[in-house]
Symmetry: C2
């Protein structure tokens, strides 16, 4: 099975602490790296975890708060210094252009690659990236600033061919890719063998959903339903629910309710407020509602 | 004697590494903190070294290269989040306004304090800040971009009064501050006692000079002559002298030649290129010319 991993580079919130860096993570799909959010110090985290920075494909910025974007100028400068030539696409709300472009123009003169800024919208679920193996969708969250969640969805993988059928029907090698893709096989005698007799289904497509920052927002449920892994912010404990609601953040319990209602397989909570020196209490509150929950930490890698 | 300390927050160069953060340091003069340069991640370094961020008085930016400024938006955002009310003055080349102001306007709405941007010039030695205890001067360096060094110079400290003289002449307490400041004393009989008989000189004013980034530039010598401590960039080893000259940086040997010619008491080298995993060779090259040299490292504190 191809690689589909999520690596946490930072899971703190607005005030960085010694325990948690500001938001950033990598989604590694078959060694192509997609970054979500890029708080200050993200490029150092990439170094710390020995990431192959040359594999960075594109960056998805959930919303324009400093703890999700202040690492972009430094990261892009470093990519320039190390001689990147491939385009870098940054998906973000359109205001980023007025903020980032002057900085890049001034600090990254003679930049060796092109930075494409693709504006996000807060419409319903929207396809924003597609390759032969993957689709990425954005969908609206509910926060003080316009904010998007992201859904990384693997495409259907090829069907598995049944070896005994190859031998039995003496299927030529050059026809195998077509059969894996769903084609029937016609024997020399003209008999059609249906694909379903020759193959078994491929691995089910894997899906990763990222929801940060957001208040409790059940409207997102159809977008993330059944995901293999949901990262949902859990900035506050239940005791600070009032503060959570005032700032359009979620409590750990609310994150778990979203996970339960969406029927995801696993929940990862993060974006912890700096007021909590450890996150055991948040984890316990989430697990009380949705047992298959983990707390994010810097350097954590989860395979889907 | 009042505190006069330099703390290194980052002494790496353009590419941050796990060994060295980008440029930043604090000059602590009697618990008032002056920051020089503010590379990405500086606010985290402040936390790591348990700095009292509320004591930050002002920031001096030597030049507008990313590794000296990309930490500013995050630091200012954090000062806003923790409710700073005192003005913050940033001394930097004037182009910083077009770069920083839109970022602050967007990300730090309802900012709780005022950020004053004071433009630097590359004229000769220029007084840019003065308090009752300290003067700060800027002076031109030689780099690819306009760049300034900074000289932090203590003012003359009060003279020490000779206790026996207080008793002998029965000097009233209320006259002591004047005598410490240099006044003569007139006895009840009208006899004038010269200050030089009543006092000994105060501690000599201490001076700290910061020179980074710069090529070998002897024109700076009059500005830094006799400083107690000189921080001078030593981006490259002698073997990479050609690269140093192409990029308007200095070798460790060149930094030491500046220290020797300026007659400073101590040299601290820093701004190390990421190509050197350790700096022993750079230190040896500098010490061959100027023995009282140290290598900077993150967390290092030197008292003047």
């Amino acid at each position: 099975m191809t690689r589909f991993e999520v690596k946490i580079l930072g899971c703190g919130s607005a005030l960085p602490t010694l325990a948690h860096n500001p938001s950033s993570q990598l989604v590694d799909v078959n060694e192509k790296l997609f970054m979500i959010d890029c708080g200050e110090g993200t490029q150092l985290q990439l170094r710390k975890y020995k990431t192959r920075i040359s594999k960075l494909h594109s960056i998805f910025i959930s919303h324009l708060h400093g703890d999700h974007v202040f690492g972009l100028p430094g990261l892009i400068s470093t990519l320039n210094l190390i001689g990147r030539t491939a385009d870098l696409t940054v998906y973000a709300f359109k205001e980023i252009e007025c903020l980032l472009q002057p900085t890049l123009d001034f600090f990254c003169n003679r930049i060796s690659f092109k930075v494409n800024l693709i504006p996000l919208q807060t419409n319903e679920l929207q396809l924003i990236y597609e390759s032969h193996a993957l689709r990425v969708f954005s969908f609206p969250l509910k926060h003080r600033a316009p904010a998007c969640g992201f859904l990384f969805e693997e495409k259907e993988s090829p069907r598995h061919i049944i070896r005994e059928m190859i031998d039995f029907y003496r299927i030529p090698i050059k026809q195998i890719p077509g059969i894996k893709a769903g084609a029937d096989f016609t024997t020399e005698e003209g008999k059609v063998v249906e694909n379903a007799r020759l193959t078994t289904p491929g691995a089910p497509p894997r899906r990763y959903a990222y929801c940060s920052d957001t208040a409790f927002f059940p409207k997102m449920l159809p977008c993330i339903a059944g995901a293999d892994l949901l990262y949902h912010e859990a900035t506050f404990a239940e005791a600070d629910a009032l503060r959570a609601h005032q700032t359009y953040h979620s409590t750990a319990r609310e994150a778990a309710e979203i996970a339960r209602e969406a029927g995801v397989k696993k929940l990862l909570i993060g974006h912890f407020s700096s007021r909590y020196t450890e996150t055991d209490a948040l984890l316990a509150e989430a697990r009380a509602v949705f047992p298959n929950t983990e707390s994010a930490f810097e350097g954590m890698t989860l395979s889907l």
